[in-house]
Symmetry: C2
């Protein structure tokens, strides 16, 4: 019957939830349900919102006590006061403007961008524990990211800072969904694997499988992608001067196929005023649960958000 914080991470296909002991940071219980994006619950609210309500009830039943704080992690840009996602150009109709504190009838609810909550999770209990100046890249369908400066999330003047996937690596490249020409996202995100491989590989998983079998096209495509990631990291180091760079997201699971290539690239192109050590680059530790960790910790005010 200890007080617990709940983190809920709304993704395109699944909604993850995890409850945490506030004193130790230990995960107490977890549950996930399908998002069922685009459908409506019997009460007329979007199915994903209703599912969040169910997950809250489930954790409270399981632990026999109300949640002391609830963090909602979701795609899009969160309002500065954390009450809602104000802008989300993707799916999840009904997410924009949904006031979660009212909807869940709970006084302490905080809404965060999903990459932001993932980085806060890594700072709280993961690979960036105890650090203050960290850059996270999330490699998935697209490429997202989050940045902390002095232990606080860097949000910029209007809340859209840290859109790492929309850095340009080619001034004359095709525009991406945010118009950025030849962006990191286009060079690396899962959504462009087919285009990058002349249609050979439908997704990064298949590309990596072929790479491990010694397929020459896979080798060529993957090398170019990791070079692009390397160039973006060079820029991020020279712009943000972080203590640590973290790689997360689904493609991050191909870490053995990323790390040695990336290291070779950075050995050549990274600015290292104090040789031979560059900025450490590590794989995120909390995997797909990072967002739940960070949302719960931020909602419980264990970390600034």
């Amino acid at each position: 019957m200890l007080p617990f914080a709940l983190g809920i991470d709304i993704g395109g296909t699944r909604i993850k939830s995890a409850s945490f002991d506030l004193a130790s940071g230990r995960q107490l219980h977890s549950a996930l349900l399908p998002t069922n994006d685009g459908t409506t619950a019997p009460d007329g609210s979007p199915a994903f919102a209703h599912t969040v309500r169910q997950l809250l009830a489930h954790h409270q039943d399981k632990l026999g006590t109300p949640a002391s704080a609830i963090g909602i992690s979701a795609p899009g840009i969160a309002l500065a006061d954390g009450s809602a996602i104000s802008s989300n150009p993707g799916k999840l109709a009904g997410l924009e403007g949904l006031a979660w504190s009212d909807y869940l009838d709970h006084p302490q609810v905080l809404t965060l961008n999903d990459a932001h909550s993932a980085l806060l999770g890594e700072l709280w209990q993961g690979a960036a524990k105890g650090l203050s100046d960290v850059v996270l890249l999330t490699l998935g369908t697209g490429v997202g990211g989050a940045i902390t400066i002095g232990g606080r999330l860097f949000k910029g003047h209007s809340g859209r800072a840290g859109h790492i996937g929309h850095m340009s690596l080619d001034p004359w490249g095709a525009p991406d969904i945010c118009q950025a020409p030849g962006s990191l996202e286009l060079s690396l995100g899962n959504a462009t694997v087919a285009a990058r491989s002349g249609g050979r590989f439908p997704c990064t998983h298949d590309l990596i499988h072929a790479l491990r079998d010694g397929d020459p096209l896979a080798e060529f495509v993957w090398s170019r992608s990791i070079d692009s990631l390397g160039a973006a990291i060079v820029s991020l180091i020279n712009l943000f001067d972080p203590q640590l760079i973290l790689i997360g997201g689904g493609i991050g699971e191909a870490w053995p196929d990323i790390a040695p290539r990336l290291e070779r690239y950075l050995d050549v192109y990274e600015w290292r005023p104090n040789p031979p050590h560059g900025v450490p680059i590590r794989r995120a530790e909390l995997g797909e649960w990072a967002g739940c960790y960070g949302a719960a910790a931020a909602a419980a005010r264990l970390l600034p958000a």
Copy 2:
């Protein structure tokens, strides 16, 4: 006999100095002398340091009162306490580690990186007056920059944040002086004009002159350079989400040849969640005196540095 702050900006060829009324920010008097880099003063100190001492005495004589604060603006990375430049990979031997407060025998001296002081100057009395989140690009021999977040200079974890010139625009490009591949500096800095034009133009000044005469090669070279600047600005907007982007430095004087091309580029490639307005891009206003303004204001603690 009003109290005044002195700003001194040490450049590769000239040392500029200007004194300012602390209440109004008005410039009272200015003077400049050659840097004479590489030579030594009769007292054994580097000539440039001795010249700084002379300029201080000159302002104090002229205004009939001691300076209440002295700001030193110089290339390189300043120590966190502002006592000295700790690292400067370029010329000006003797600058690294020179403790200016001792050398000038004055209790209130602050040392700043020259791009940092230029941005603070623009915030105090120039094009960014009253703003808090600003990115400055200085276009000259190389490409430098400075960034403020919430009204404070952004320095990063080890003091080297904001090296905007060393953003990569081509993962497979040649490395620049900081190893960054295909960097903005290589695409735009004065040092590479000859290389970019097959030897036709020795400097940006000649390139711009030919451009205005309708020279086709000049048009081609300059268009590529401004496209590269545009792509870097797209990335900076998506990463830093500033209120304003300022263009300074000597090449900034070609503003009529920059602005319309840059605007066309950004109309296509800038992410504008609230159309039709992009982030405003303006020319810096204080010209070559910006560093003196910012160094004086920061030393007098009128701005955080």
